[in-house]
Symmetry: C3
Subunit: 140 residues, 3 copies
């Protein structure tokens, strides 16, 4: 077994949910070297997240933003932590609800995703910066 | 270290939460070959999920269905994506809230789960099909 | 590639969100031996969880408790499962919303966490016991 690791930077995105499967594959050619393995994509931030969901219809990603903005509202008067504005604490909460990484099997040098699965970068800040990811893949 | 990988199909289930720990173990005898390792179970769908929770009392699984159907309601007029009916978009949202995989340590050829832990297949569609899982285990 | 595995016990905590990054690193000196690898921390319980979030301001952790106690209320009359009190079923639900493990890249013998990331033990029971974790690390 061998292991590969690489930092990948995703350019600044607007608040919402964005497909990044192609960006990961392009930045990580070593995925093609594994016949049987695993790949983790990890985000080094606490106000953005990663998840796997529907890769075809953009309205799914719009509905994600609508749902999470209702379920974890900005400006809840109960929040104590608001140094960086009304989207600060909700961004942290959404990050933990969705998770800081995805873990995907590799088969024959490709992600063993279902037909409709893609990787989402979940950007929870109104004014975000670029986001750093660490991609690690291991296997045979 | 070595790695094993296998596709496992879980037969069609009704909407709700279903224990599948035994089905995974039966389909993946290679787990017994690892003294120290890891096992990932990944679901190749965006309207069902996997999680780890209480393995004994069926009312826990009923309460999961009740909770998630309230927290992510069918028929929310805000949903744009409803091609496949009122359970379509909520199924995608629940899939990301719960996650598309579980990752479990292996010790002495068995899952190192706590006494009360089991793997749930979380079926979010009213009329589901069989579900494809990819099980990957690695270690020594 | 090599793999290390160790049980770590975290002493009884009050209900809420607690930073345990240092406790994990102290209990697992083998992390320093990996130049490129992965580390999973797994909790063997269904009424507590693990997540990664902000490691600096204690009010973030207070806001986590406030949010999750509102989003998954104690004493919901819909719960069927309440053997162990009004915090029993909500603890199970929060455990699955947050997840039973975190998976962190290792670079040069250290967690490749972002500047503001730490590991939270999420304790959902009013009267908890100590919690058992299994830490597994693998790599080169």
């Amino acid at each position: 077994m061998k292991i590969f690791q690489q930092q990948v930077q995703i350019s600044r995105k607007k608040r919402g949910f964005h497909l990044i499967t192609s960006a990961i594959l392009e930045a990580c050619p070593f995925i093609k070297e594994l016949k049987s393995g695993m790949c983790q994509v990890f985000i080094q931030h606490t106000s953005a997240a990663l998840t796997i969901n529907e890769n075809a219809d953009p309205t799914v990603r719009e509905d994600f933003e609508t749902y999470f903005s209702k379920a974890v509202p900005d400006n809840d008067p109960d929040y104590l932590h608001d140094y960086e504005g009304p989207d600060d604490m909700p961004a942290h909460l959404k990050a933990s609800l969705l998770g800081s990484s995805v873990l995907i099997p590799i088969q024959q040098g490709a992600f063993a995703l279902g037909t409709w699965q893609g990787i989402y970068l979940c950007e929870h800040r109104d004014k975000a910066s670029a986001r750093n990811l660490i991609v690690t893949a291991w296997g045979e």
